[in-house]
Symmetry: D2
Subunit: 216 residues, 4 copies
C-alpha cells in the first residue's frame, strides 16, 4: 500500500532569508517531500500557505493519509476555516506530523487544547535524541540515541497533554531536556510532534530523521 503524504510549508523563510533559500532551492517542504519519496512506499506532494486554500482543499485532504506541517513565522496567517477542516480530517483518521516550530501552529493548539508553550534558545547546539519507547513503530530500526549537530534548543516545560507514550527525549548541552517525540490520538487520527528541523540548520544529512518521518 502506498502512503499518500502532503508536506505543508509556510514557504516564508525561503523567500525572505538568503541562507534558507540557498540551502533549500525547492523550499524546505520540497526537500522533505523529496526525502519521503526517496524512502519508498510513500508518494509525497507539497502545499504552501500562499496556495489557494493553503493547498488544502477538501478533496485533497480526503485523499491524504498523512499531512506533515512545517510552520514558524506565519502561524497567524493560516485561516481558521482551514484549521477546522484539517482538524476534522485528523479526527476522521488522517495522520498529522508537526515539525519544528509547528508546536505553535494553530492546528496543533486546536488539537491539544493547551498553550503548547516551551522554552527555547537559538544557538546552533548539538541535540541528542534518546529513544524511550523501543517498540513504537516510529522508532523502528533506530539506535538507542542519535545526534543532530546544529539545532535550535526546545526545552521543558512543554505545555501539551500527557502523550500516549514518550517516544523520544532530547538532551541539550546547556542543561535542558525535551520530550521530542510525542504521539497523541485525536478521534481516529494520530498526531505526532517531532521538533528537529530549524530552518538555517539542515537536519536532512542525518539519515535517522527521514526514517522517522517516513514511518506512519
Amino acid at each position: 500500500m502506498i502512503i499518500k503524504a502532503v508536506v505543508w510549508g509556510e514557504n516564508v523563510h525561503e523567500q525572505t532569508n538568503q541562507i534558507v533559500a540557498d540551502l533549500y532551492p525547492d523550499g524546505m517542504h520540497g526537500e522533505i517531500a523529496a526525502a519521503l519519496n526517496a524512502a519508498g512506499g510513500i508518494t509525497a506532494t507539497t502545499a504552501t500557505l500562499r496556495d489557494p486554500e493553503h493547498g488544502l482543499s477538501e478533496d485533497r485532504l480526503a485523499d491524504t493519509d498523512v499531512l506533515l506541517w512545517w510552520g514558524h513565522a506565519a502561524h497567524g496567517d493560516v485561516s481558521d476555516e482551514i484549521v477546522e477542516r484539517v482538524a476534522d480530517h485528523v479526527n476522521a483518521g488522517m495522520g498529522l506530523i508537526l515539525l519544528h516550530s509547528a508546536h505553535f501552529a494553530k492546528i496543533f493548539k486546536r488539537l491539544m487544547g493547551t498553550p503548547c508553550n516551551l522554552t527555547w534558545r537559538e544557538a546552533g547546539e548539538r541535540e541528542r535524541l534518546w529513544v524511550t519507547s523501543r517498540n513504537h513503530p516510529i522508532a523502528a530500526g533506530l539506535p538507542d540515541h542519535f545526534e543532530l549537530e546544529h539545532e535550535e534548543m526546545y526545552g521543558e516545560p512543554f505545555g501539551v497533554p500527557e502523550p500516549l507514550e514518550t517516544v523520544f527525549l532530547s538532551w541539550f548541552p546547556g542543561g535542558e531536556v525535551f520530550r521530542s517525540g510525542l504521539p497523541h490520538k485525536r478521534g481516529a487520527g494520530t498526531v505526532f510532534y517531532f521538533p528537529p528541523g530549524h530552518e538555517p540548520y539542515p537536519t536532512s544529512p542525518d539519515a535517522n530523521v527521514p526514517r522517522v518521518l517516513a514511518t506512519p
Copy 2:
C-alpha cells in the same frame, strides 16, 4: 483548606420547562451548589449564561478552584471570549467538571480537540455505574457500582482522547456502555467529565453523585 467552587448553569430549561422549574426551584445550578455546600469543605456559588460575562469574570475565575459546568440547550450562546478565558484558567490550574450534556459544550470541545460526539437515547432508563479505578480520589469511598434510576442513555463510541484513567463505566439496559468518568489533564488543570444529571430526572437523591462532585 476550603475549596472554592462555582457551579455554572445555562438556566434555560428552568425557565422554559415547567417540570424542570418545579423540580429545581433554585435552578439545577442552585441545587448542585447547595449539595456541595452541604458536603463540607467546599464553598459553592453559582453563575449562569444570562449574567454579565456569563458570571465568569477574570477576577472571579482567578478566585475559583473548581468550575462545574452544566449545559445542554444553549451551547452556541456561550461567548468564544469566555470560552478562551476559562480554557486559560484550566491550563493555569483550575479544575473543570463537565456535567451531563456539557460533553458538547464549547469549552469541553476546546480542551479535548475532538468532536466529543456520543450516541444517546432519552427514555428514563436505569444507569449502573461501575468503578474501574478504585484508587482515584474521585472514587474514594464509593461501592463497586451504584445505580441511577432515570437517566438519559449516553453511549459509546465517545469521541474524546484517551483519558489518564477510566474511572467509571456505565451500563444501560438497552445494550450500551459508556466511559462515564474520564479525567484529562490540560496544562496544570484537570478536566473531569461526568454525565449523570439529565434535567427532568433528578439524580441528587442518590448520595453517591454529590460525593463524586465534592471530591476535587
Copy 3:
C-alpha cells in the same frame, strides 16, 4: 512479511470434557491456529502443556512473533521457568495475546504485576463488544459493536493496570461491563488480553474474533 504465531493451549478440557472434545476435534488451540492460517499473512502452529518444555523451547520462542495463550484449568501446572522465559521474550519484543481465562495465567499476572481478578458468571449469556478506540490496529475494519451469543460473563472490577488504551468494552445482559480489549506494553513487546472463547461456547462462528486475533 509473514507473521509467525504459536497458539498455546492447555489441552485439558479437550481430554476431559466430551462436549469440548466434540466441538474441537483438533483442540481449541488447533481450531484457533486453523483460523489464523486461513486469515492469510500468518503461519500458526500449536503447543500444549503436555509437550516437553510446554512446547516453548528457547529456540521456538526466538522464532515466534506472536504467542497466543489459552488457559483455564491448569494454570498452576505451568512451570515457573517457562513463565520467566516467555516474559523475557515479551520484553524483547514478542507479542502475547491472552485468551479467555488466561487473565489468571501465571504469565499474565507476572507481566501485569497485579492480581488480575475479575467477577464472573457462567450462564451462556450474550456479550456485546463495543469498539472504543477506532484507530487501534486491532480494531481495524470492525463495526461499532458486534455480539457473541453464548459467552461466560467476565466483569469489572478487573484488577489490571491502566492500559495504553481501552480498545473494547463488553456489555452483558445481567448488568455488567468489562474492559475486554486491553493493550499493555512490556519492554519492546505488546501484551493484549481478549476474553472471548469459553470452552463449551464456540465463538469462532463470529467472523470478527479471528479478525481481531489475526491483527498483530
Copy 4:
C-alpha cells in the same frame, strides 16, 4: 490525617563502608525517616533487611500508608515471601516509593513486569531534574527545575512500562537523560520511582528531595 510511613533500608553500606557510616550515623533509612518526621503530617519509622521478616510483618504493613524502599547491594537477600506480601499490600492500596537503586529491587520488578534495566555511571555528576507534570501532587511547590550536585548517573533506555505520567526528567552533563519521576498504579496502590540518593553522595541538603518524598 497523619500519614504512616515506613522507611525500609538494606543497612548494608552503612555497615561496610566507612564513608557511608560517617555520613549517616543512623543509617540512610534513619536519615530519610528523620526528614519525613520533620516535614509534618507524617509519622515515619524504619525497618531493615536484618530485622525479623525484614521488619515487614503482616500487621505492620496493614498499618502502613506508604512504604519507602532503599536498596542497592542486597536485592537478592530479600525473601520472595516478603516481596509477595508487599505486592499484595500495594495492590490493596498501600503506596510504595522506590529510591535510588531500588529500580532493581525484586518488589519493583515484580510490580512492573519488566527488567527495569537502565544505563549508569558512577562519577559524582551534577543532575538537573526538570518538572514535566506541574499539577501532579508530588511536584507541588517545586520550581521548574532543581539540581543535585553529586549523583550517580542513571539514564535511558529505562525498561519500565509507560507511566501514568512523566513527572520528572533528569539531565546529566555526559549527554544522558532519564525519566526520573514515574507513577504507576498497581491495583489500588501507587508505585513511584524516584532515583536520587546514591549512598556516598548525600542528597538531603537539597530541600526539594524531602519535599518530594513527603508528598504522598
